[in-house]
C-alpha cells in the first residue's frame, strides 16, 4: 500500500484527532467534519473535537483483511456511541475476545494503521480500546 504524504497531512483531522461538526440548527454531529450538516444541510455548524470516550454498542470480529491491513487478524470493529452522542464505526484494539461485551466503556487511542514498505512511511490513526 502506497502512502501519499500530502494525504497523511490532510487526513490528520480524522486520523490524529476526532474532528467533527456540530449543527447549531438541528444538533446533529457529523463525523468526519463537514462544513454543512450531513443531516439537515445547514451551514450553521461549529467545529468540535470529540472527547474519544464512549460506549461499545456492538462489535464484529473480522477475519478477512483488506490489502495493506493484513496484520492483526482477526480484527475487532466496533459500533461506538461517543459521549457527545454520535455513533461511529471504529477499530477496537487490545481486546480480549473472551471479556469483550456490549455496553462496556471504550476510549480513543493513537495506533499504527499501516506501513508503506516501499517508502518506509507509517500511517497512524485513532482506534479505540477498552477503558478501565
Amino acid at each position: 500500500m502506497k502512502i501519499a504524504p500530502p494525504q497523511v497531512w490532510r487526513n490528520k483531522r480524522f486520523m490524529y484527532k476526532l474532528t467533527a461538526s456540530k449543527c447549531e440548527s438541528c444538533g446533529h454531529i457529523s463525523f468526519p467534519y463537514s462544513s454543512y450538516c450531513t443531516k439537515c444541510g445547514s451551514k450553521n455548524v461549529k467545529k468540535i473535537e470529540i472527547s474519544g470516550k464512549g460506549i461499545l454498542e456492538s462489535y464484529t470480529v473480522s477475519y478477512q483483511s483488506r490489502d495493506g491491513h493484513e496484520k492483526g487478524l482477526p480484527s475487532v470493529i466496533g459500533l461506538v456511541r461517543l459521549d457527545e452522542g454520535v455513533e461511529i464505526v471504529a477499530p477496537i484494539v487490545d481486546a480480549d475476545l473472551d471479556k469483550l461485551k456490549e455496553g462496556i466503556k471504550v476510549e480513543a487511542t493513537l495506533r499504527r494503521v499501516y506501513t508503506d514498505s516501499y517508502n518506509g512511511l507509517i500511517q497512524y490513526g485513532i482506534k479505540f480500546r477498552v477503558a478501565e
Binding site: T38, S58, D67, S75
Partner: protein
C-alpha cells in the same frame, strides 16, 4: 407524452473470465443485439461501471466500448454510483428519452472484478465507506455485520433465519444458466460456512465476479417492449436501529401497489440487506421477511448471492431479467407476473433507485 420502453436485453453468465478483459465482456453480451433494427439507430450509449479505474486501469471506457462494439461515433458516457451505477445509468437514460432529446439508448453494465486477489478487491469496495473508515482498514463486510447484529438483537433471530436467503437464492440459481453459483445449499452448509465478519458468513455475502448485461431503451413500442412506468431515486445513510431510510423513501415516492403477480428484484449484497430491503419497501413486516420467501417472486435469477454480483453492472442484470420475465423469455425460473419492482442500490443501501415495469 413520450413513453420509455426496454425493447431488448442481453447478458453473459456471471463468472471469472480469465481470458476476457473488460471490453471482451461487453462484446460477448452485445453479440445478441446484432441484427436488431433499433441497435442501428441508437443515439447514445450509457455505460454503468464502478471500479474500472482501480481494477482494470482503464478510464474513458464508455467511448472505448463504443468503438469496440462498432459504434465509434455514437456518443458514450459512463455513469458511476458504485454498485448502484446501473440504477443511476437507467435514471440518466430514461430522463434523456423522456425529455425528447434522444429516442434510443443502449445501456451497458460491465464490471471486471476477478483479476486481483479478494483482499485487493475488498480494499477497492471499501472506498465506498467514509474516509475515517476507509483509512482505518474497515471493510463494508464489517458494517454489514454490525447491521446484521443489530437486527438479530432487535428481532431475536439467529443465523438460521438469515440462511433462508442463501438457501432460496441458490435454489433459484440452479435453474438459471446465467448464474455464477448454480448449486443448491442446505442449512448446514450455510451456517457452517467461513466467518467473514461475525455474524456475516461466506453465504451471507453476494458473490462478486465478472459480468456484462445490456438493455436497449427506446421511445418506440415493439412486440418485445416492457414499459418503464416510473423510476425514482432516494438517498440517505443506513441507520443502526437498523434501518434503510433510502428504501423507505423509495416506497413512498414510488407508490407502487404490490400484488401476488408482482415480481420483485432487490440488491441483496448481504442477507441482512435482503431482509431490510424487503421490509423497508413494504413487501413484508419488519423482522419476518426471511421466513416468508416462498410467498413472493423475489430474485428469481438467484440474486447477487447466487446469480452473482456484477458490481456497477448489477442493475442491468436486474433489468434484463425483469424484461425477460415479463416477455416470457427468461431461461431460468419463470414466474407468472404482470409487473415488476426492481430496486438498485449500493451495497449498504445509501443510494437507491426504484423502478416499476410492466408489459
Amino acid at each position: 407524452m413520450t413513453e420509455v420502453y426496454i425493447n431488448s436485453s442481453s447478458m453473459i453468465p456471471i463468472d471469472r473470465y480469465y481470458e476476457y478483459d473488460i471490453y471482451d465482456l461487453v462484446i460477448e453480451a452485445y453479440k445478441n443485439f446484432e441484427g436488431e433494427y433499433d441497435v442501428n439507430n441508437i443515439d447514445l450509449i450509457v455505460v454503468a461501471n464502478a471500479y474500472s479505474q482501480k481494477l482494470n486501469n482503464a478510464s474513458l471506457i464508455a467511448p472505448k466500448i463504443a468503438e469496440k462494439i462498432g459504434k465509434p461515433n455514437v456518443p458514450a458516457i459512463k455513469v458511476d454510483n458504485a454498485d448502484a451505477s446501473g440504477g443511476a445509468a437507467l435514471l440518466t437514460a430514461y430522463s434523456m428519452i423522456k425529455s425528447g432529446m434522444v429516442n434510443s439508448i443502449l445501456i451497458i453494465g460491465v464490471e471486471k472484478q476477478s483479476d486481483y486477489p479478494s483482499k485487493y478487491l475488498y480494499d477497492t469496495i471499501a472506498t465506498n465507506l467514509d474516509e475515517y473508515m476507509y483509512y482505518n482498514g474497515i471493510s463494508s463486510h464489517s458494517v454489514a455485520a454490525l447491521l446484521m447484529r443489530q437486527y438479530m438483537k432487535k428481532y431475536n433471530v439467529d443465523g438460521n433465519y438469515f440462511a433462508n436467503w442463501a438457501i432460496k437464492m441458490h435454489k433459484n440459481a440452479t435453474e438459471n444458466p446465467f448464474a455464477y453459483l448454480r448449486f443448491p445449499v442446505d442449512l448446514n452448509t450455510v451456517t457452517n460456512s467461513q466467518i467473514i465478519s461475525d455474524p456475516v458468513r461466506l453465504f451471507d455475502v453476494g458473490a462478486r465476479a465478472d459480468g456484462a448485461a445490456i438493455v436497449l431503451l427506446s421511445s418506440n413500442k415493439t412486440e418485445s417492449s416492457v414499459k418503464i412506468n416510473r423510476i425514482v431515486s432516494a438517498q440517505a445513510r443506513y441507520e443502526f436501529s437498523p434501518s434503510l431510510p433510502s428504501v423507505k423513501m423509495l416506497r413512498n415516492k414510488l407508490g407502487m401497489r404490490l400484488t401476488e403477480k408482482t415480481g420483485i428484484d432487490i440488491h441483496d449484497s448481504y442477507s441482512i440487506m435482503a431482509a431490510l430491503m424487503l421490509e423497508e419497501s413494504g413487501v413484508f413486516e419488519s423482522g419476518k421477511s426471511l421466513y416468508n420467501l416462498d410467498n413472493v417472486n423475489v430474485n428469481l435469477s438467484g440474486g447477487l448471492k447466487a446469480r452473482g454480483h456484477a458490481g456497477g453492472a448489477t442493475a442491468l442484470y436486474q433489468l434484463a431479467e425483469a424484461h425477460m420475465q415479463l416477455i416470457g423469455s427468461f431461461k431460468g425460473k419463470k414466474a407468472n407476473v404482470d409487473d415488476y419492482l426492481v430496486i438498485s442500490s449500493d451495497d449498504l443501501g445509501i443510494v437507491s433507485y426504484g423502478i416499476s415495469l410492466s408489459r
